[in-house]
């Protein structure tokens, strides 16, 4: 026992002497800069996670093959956090403390990103382009927001934009919303609340739980309420079922969806019922003629990306990586975390991705606050209204 205590004291002494951290930024050498991300490779959103991470990796490989940024190759470390906030905290701790990454990048999911806010503050580490469209990301009243650089327009803003558009088209419209009862729906509702106040209207709200497949009740309620416009805050499967249910009930309002419903599969699967469906979208589509989309398809051909991987989410990853590269470039040759934040803040009206021109500033963490509307006409997605604020 005595011996043990002695040895412990010895170790303790070693501790006191041996500890000290270097002044140089972690994760940066002359040849390399290490960036950490968490994705979902084996959880509920693994399809999406693998695509986004694949897109990021492809663009980073592309930049590395051209010599990297300021002569440094980018090394992307991916941790699988399974879309779980607790696992994300563990993964990010590991990235920061053990792998000593320079910056965080593209953490997947809203609640996972919310969960790591205190880590961002504690380590003063930036998070570039979180993979979440929640408007809470850029809310500067929340702790750690000044380290987060959110790219796409938030759900709350999307809601406001859609209501503004409706009120322009038809000032007497009755609006209803069917929303997913989680952090996504929560943020969408926040925007709709603002819109209600602005236009002096009242929006009928019907909620459903994640994973629901029967929407008869919700559709019946908005039908009873006489809604001409029904907004859908859901992912891909739900709008299809909602529109088919409504068609079967002989109810034909104008259906509109938030960003995640923009997937081309909605139109394909809903068939006739989905004709005319409008969705808000924060970026040019991957198969459009926009220069960034053309460049994306060329890159896909160059790196032989399988056909089934190409699409909205893979492109999303490429866009995020592009933002990261731009930030690293602007941060200058002497990389530091504050330098990266300054570099990101210097981005003004930057128009090289498929997003509308991006602007960040010392008090602005929302890259883009614009959305366009896309309608399904004859089974094809056609933009019907340009960028709106």
């Amino acid at each position: 026992m005595k011996h043990m205590i002695k040895s412990m004291i010895a170790i303790l002494c070693v501790t006191m002497i041996g500890c000290g951290s270097g002044a140089k930024s972690p994760g940066v050498t002359d040849a390399e800069v290490v960036i950490g991300t968490t994705s979902d490779l084996s959880g509920p959103a693994k399809e999406l996670g693998a695509l986004i991470t694949g897109g990021e990796q492809m663009y980073i490989n592309h930049i590395n093959s051209q010599g990297g940024v300021h002569g440094r190759k980018i090394k992307l470390l991916v941790e699988d956090a399974q879309y779980n906030p607790q696992k994300t905290v563990v993964a990010v701790k590991k990235l920061i403390e053990k792998e000593q990454v320079f910056s965080l990048f593209a953490i997947l999911g809203t609640s996972p990103t919310e969960a790591i806010r205190s880590l961002l503050v504690e380590n003063e580490i930036p998070l570039i382009a979180p993979e979440s469209q929640s408007g809470t990301m850029s809310d500067l009243s929340r702790p750690g927001s000044k380290y987060i650089f959110s790219t796409e327009v938030g759900y709350n803003r999307q809601g406001e934009i859609m209501v503004n558009w409706i009120m322009n088209q038809n000032p007497d419209a009755t609006i209803g919303v069917i929303y997913q009862d989680d952090d996504y729906g929560e943020n969408a509702l926040e925007g709709l609340k603002n819109a209600e106040e602005k236009h002096g209207i009242s929006i009928q709200k019907e909620s459903f739980q994640r994973g629901t497949t029967d929407f008869t009740g919700q559709v019946g309620n908005v039908m009873k309420g006489g809604c001409d416009y029904v907004l859908i805050a859901a992912i891909v499967k739900e709008p299809i079922i909602i529109m088919k249910t409504a068609a079967a009930m002989g109810y034909k309002p104008q259906f509109m969806g938030f960003g995640p419903t923009m997937d081309h599969r909605v139109g394909l699967a809903a068939g006739k019922a989905g004709e005319g469906f409008i969705s808000a979208n924060g970026a040019y589509m991957w198969n459009s003629d926009h220069p960034s989309a053309v460049e994306y398809r060329e890159l896909c051909n160059q790196y032989e990306v399988p056909e089934k991987m190409r699409g909205m989410y893979h492109f999303y990853g490429v866009t995020a990586a592009k933002v990261l590269v731009e930030g690293l470039t602007r941060a200058g040759e002497n990389l530091s975390r504050t330098g990266l934040i300054k570099g990101m803040e210097s981005i003004k009206d930057w128009d090289e991705t498929n997003l509308p021109p991006i602007t960040w500033g010392p008090n602005d963490r929302q890259g883009s606050d614009q959305a366009m509307l896309i309608q399904i006409k004859n089974g094809k997605q056609i933009p019907i209204a340009g960028w709106m604020k």
């Binding site: 412990m8 170790i11 490779l41 699988d80 906030p85 563990v90 919310e114 969960a115 806010r117 205190s118």
Partner: protein, 343 residues
């Protein structure tokens, strides 16, 4: 005096407690990424408080719970609301919140008087779902599913900030929990629990009030889970309904089973083993596999996890027993519980 654990050597316990105190200093000396390891140790400490409580309920009283993440959520949210919104001091909430979680356990104890085995498992699982929905519905206080930011723990004017300070808070309470539960299980209450597990009829015949003790077991277990929830909320600074999904409850059951059911130290060992396996060993194996066979990491994790646990269970009869029972009809055929349904 030699009791149930005749081979138990009490002398190494102070040494072990000494090790727990010195561990962070050792880690700091060995590695610069000690904060990451401290965080994992904190997670172990928090989960350990819960699994010890779960073991009292499942291992000692023979009542299954698949909803313990729900109790943890109650403790976490109650404390977050009491401290940050009502303005109570953390020390007060540290006592009050677990008791509130325990009261919920008391309520869940009512159906436990009538249902058992598989049905009790389903009832408690349903409780887990209800709690999550309740948290979303009480938007006013919990901010719905958007999640809630929580302040750091403050005790006697000292703010526990960062993994280093949290470690000492968490492990002090973890050690206290272990000691308290061991004392409790050796008292009249513990003996009554074990009697209920072994045979309800015999226990009742010996004058044990079944209803009272079963509900007491749920209450005690709820208190431990609530305490774990309080610590989780305040050391993580953020909680959401996704933190407390039902997989977590299953995860706790596995910890207790792998460690060895019906023994407090078993629950402790099981928790340490599972958390270390997940965070330290699985990533290493993943990396080897990736280097050797070029297999993508994400797809292999659950496979390794299952395989290692499978092997472990084969070489650990108690764990094997527990796992086998879980797959069959949980507690009904438990060897210490001769209540036969099929006769």
């Amino acid at each position: 005096m030699k009791g149930r654990y005749a081979d138990e050597n009490i002398k190494w316990i102070p040494a072990l407690i000494g090790l727990v105190i010195l561990l962070p200093f050792m880690l700091k000396g060995i590695t610069f990424s000690y904060k990451y390891y401290l965080y994992i140790l904190n997670t172990i400490g928090i989960y350990l408080i819960l699994t010890v409580g779960l073991d009292i309920l499942s291992g000692y009283t023979g009542l299954i719970s698949l909803g313990h993440a729900g109790f943890m959520a109650i403790g976490a949210y109650t404390s977050a609301i009491l401290v940050d919104q009502v303005g109570l001091p953390f020390g007060f909430s540290l006592v009050l919140s677990p008791i509130i979680a325990g009261c919920f356990g008391f309520i869940i104890g009512f159906p436990a008087l009538r249902v058992s085995g598989m049905y009790l498992g389903l009832t408690t699982m349903g409780f887990g779902f209800i709690i999550r929905r309740l948290i979303i519905a009480l938007r006013e206080w919990t901010q719905g599913s958007g999640g809630l930011a929580v302040s750091s723990p403050k005790l006697f004017g000292y703010t526990f900030n960062g993994d280093w300070a949290n470690y000492f808070l968490v492990w002090t309470l973890a050690i206290l929990s272990i000691v308290a539960s061991r004392r409790m299980m050796k008292s009249k209450v513990g003996r009554a629990f074990m009697a209920i597990r072994d045979s309800e009829q015999a226990a009742e015949a010996s004058g044990i009030n079944l209803a009272q003790y079963k509900m007491m077991s749920f209450f005690i277990s709820g208190v431990f889970a609530g305490l774990a929830g309080v610590l989780m909320a305040h050391t993580n600074h953020f909680i959401s309904t996704d933190h407390f999904d039902n997989m977590l409850s299953i995860y706790f059951i596995i910890m207790v089973l792998v460690g060895g059911i019906g023994s407090i130290y078993g629950a402790v060992l099981g928790t340490i083993f599972i958390v270390l396996l997940e965070n330290l060993i699985v990533p290493v194996i993943e990396e080897w596999l990736h280097v050797l066979f070029q297999i993508e990491a994400g797809d292999i994790e659950s496979l390794i996890f299952g395989l290692i646990m499978f092997l472990f269970i084969i070489f650990q009869p108690t764990g094997l027993y527990g796992m086998w029972l879980k797959i069959r009809i949980y507690w009904k055929l438990f060897p210490f519980n001769p209540k036969q349904r099929f006769t």
